[in-house]
């Protein structure tokens, strides 16, 4: 990732990516390799490589503004630790990252001036990447150069071609939004309704997923196909559970009961240990983390479902999905105790009614059987 000096590359934002790459001396063969890796990264079939190559050649270099709000920088860390560094850096070298206050050298008003300049120059065309949630309870909770997150987002969003909330905080509110949500944190989509939004949730998102989405936009200039939660289907189309290599154990009913039992050692399904794989949509099971080394389930830990809204309040990371989040036994006990009281009362009332009916019995004689009333 290059650190950009303010506005340094703004002038070249009309270049195509192909031209930019060739200028950097990237051979066609290297470019094809890059395209193959890109297709793989975007979860596109290898047959798409020629189309990608063609699209990338003529793709315009967009200006990108990156805003960080209530966040932990984990998403940026994830991105900068992307294992496919060379390939991504190609992309980032060819995009114009005009503002990223964590990464850029300039600070304070200078940085803000760069942002404003980039906005003005590329109004209606730049990509806005956001990480972190936005506090609305009191804007003072998070400000940058005296500008509240809310104001900065609304202001910057106006001229954006599309917004990419990166990380669960920006996409769905994430941890700041978790109960009791003291800052009144909300997601980008909660605030902005009139711009295309591509959510890239995860805590953090898989690096290649971030770059994959950027690349998609860069390559095709269109929004990828999104699911109901605004996530690109290419990466979030299938649940962890569906793509999990431990799925056969689930199907066979073989579960690890604890983290150190025989089942855990044998790599059995982690459902009982609270795995949220069945309700979590992400690419971890195939793309994996750390150079494709592994992903949490492979490491023996249940999925937390970090790419899902409310994952923090989902009722316990180690509580199986089929278990209610409240204390059912306690509820049942209270209800049972109350029922014994109420039922006894009603039962005794019934008894009394029956007794009363019997005591009011009017003796029936044959005269009563005669039809005349």
């Amino acid at each position: 990732m290059k650190k950009h000096s303010t506005g340094a590359r703004l002038s070249s934002s009309d270049d195509t990516l192909g031209a930019a790459l060739r200028r950097q001396g990237v051979s066609r063969r290297s470019f094809l390799k890059f395209c193959a890796a890109t297709a793989s990264m975007m979860a596109l079939p290898p047959t798409m490589v020629p189309a990608i190559a063609k699209a990338l050649e003529s793709a315009k270099r967009p200006s990108v503004i990156w805003l960080s709000f209530q966040e932990c920088t984990g998403c940026t860390e994830s991105l900068t630790r992307a294992h496919t560094a060379t390939v991504e850096s190609l992309i980032f070298d060819s995009i114009s990252l005009d503002y990223h206050h964590t990464l850029q050298a300039a600070a304070g008003h200078g940085a803000e001036a760069a942002r404003e300049e980039a906005m003005k120059e590329n109004f209606g065309k730049y990509l806005l990447v956001v990480d972190g949630s936005i506090p609305v309870a009191d804007p003072g909770y998070s400000t940058i150069a005296g500008i509240s997150n809310l104001d900065m987002l609304m202001d910057t969003a106006k001229g954006a071609a599309a917004i990419i909330p990166v990380g669960t905080c920006a996409a769905y509110g994430g941890i700041p939004h978790a109960d009791p949500n003291p800052t009144g944190a909300v997601s980008v989509a909660d605030l902005i309704k009139d711009k295309p939004i591509i959510n890239v949730p995860g805590c953090p998102p898989i690096p290649v997923v971030i770059t994959g989405v950027l690349t998609h936009f860069l390559t095709f200039g269109t929004l990828p196909e999104l699911d109901d939660l605004g996530r690109p289907r290419a990466f979030y189309g299938q649940s962890i559970h569906d793509r999990c290599y431990r799925r056969p154990f689930y199907d066979k009913g073989q579960f690890a009961e604890t983290f150190d039992d025989e089942g855990a050692k044998k790599g059995w399904c982690l459902y009982k240990l609270g795995c949220k794989g069945p309700t979590s949509y992400n690419a971890c099971a195939t793309t994996k983390w750390n150079d494709g080394t592994s992903f949490p389930i492979e490491a023996g830990h249940p999925c937390l479902g970090c790419s899902e809204p409310e994952f923090w309040d989902g009722g316990g990371f180690y509580k199986a999905l089929s278990i209610p989040t409240t204390e059912v036994a306690r509820d049942a006990l209270y209800a049972g105790a109350a029922a014994v009281a109420a039922g006894s009362a009603l039962g005794m009332m019934n008894r009394a009614r029956s007794k009363q009916a019997k005591s009011e019995h009017e003796k029936v004689s044959v005269d009563d059987l005669q039809k005349e009333d």
Binding site: R353, S354, V364, L369, D373
Partner: protein, 420 residues
Amino acid sequence: MSTKLEQAVHALKEQIDAPVASFLSSCVHCGMCAQACLFHTETGDPKYTPILKVEPLRRVWQQEYTFWGRMKKMFGLAKPITDEFLAEWEELVYDSCTMCGRCSMVCPVGNDITYMIRKTREGMAVSGHVPDGLVGATTRAVTIGSPMGVKFVALEAQIRHVEKDYGYKVPVDVEGADYLCMLSSMEIMNFPEYIGAIAKIFDHADVSWTLSSKAFEATNSGIQIGVSDIAAELVQRIVSEAERLKVKCVISPECGHAYTAIRWEGPNLAGKKFGFKVRHILEVLDELRQEGRLKTEGMKDNRLTYHDPCQIGRRGGVLEQPRNLINMVASDFVEMPDAGKMNWCCGAGGGVSTNERADEIRLKSFQRKKEQLEAVQAETLVSACSNCRIHIEDGLEAYHMDIPVISLTETLAEHLVDKE
């Protein structure tokens, strides 16, 4: 004085107890009881589904004894219990139910539907929606002493005939006798041979017994029509006589519901445990057999089968005794399909035979018995209930079948070895 409708609801309210509430809570509308009821199997009409017949009781239970039913009633959401509704149910409760108890045996959740029909009739009886035939019989039972209007003078005349024909003394009002023998009017009027048979057997076995001039009628119309007060009054007549004559045991005759009335409902109607035993004549005879006091000779060699009267078998518990006794006198005894506790009713019990209006359906439902008899190609049918006998004879005639229907007690008497 409240209206008949109010009285009916009140009566039903009195009848509801934990078993009823449990049964009504359990019904899943599976329809299996319909397949156990000959009024449904022989007509195919779903309205005869047994559990539906207790609908009046169900509504009262729901509206009076369940929290939600009471809420519904309060907000006017409950189905009302109207005179028209009860009128509609009269036929279902009386004409097309013999209280045979077969449905109670098949219900998968264990509902004793018959138990509830009996209770439902308590409400129906006072509502005024009750067959005239039953009202007449009940009135005669209370005022004259027998549903058929038989007075002691008529019995006396029959006793004289019997004593003459059989040559045995028939004791009446003998204080201190071991057994007080009860009779049904049907036996007095239609089958006086029963009295002769009893006299012969008890003489043969040296049993000390007596009839009572004040209480000879064992049948109890109060039970059939469903008025416990009247049933209690009728039972009380027997209890008083049994106590006056200081007998050890009262014998219920060859009559189904009489056994239920005196044996099982009697003490509960009278409100006390009896100081004497109550036994069906077949139980007494089987006891004598076990004690070796019955010596028989000769065997009936035609194909003979036994019809279990519902109230004696399924609802009474007298199932083995008749078979023990038949085996003493019959060499070709065959059991009909479903014999024993699952036997099919003749179709005339529970007051149906007293209800002329029900004649058509009664004969229609007889097809069931006909098929049972045909299945074993019975040549003789033996039973232990006069009501069953009369109706079966009627049914056989209607279906042009020629099978003699005989009394088990009488048959046994015929085969006794003459006393030296």
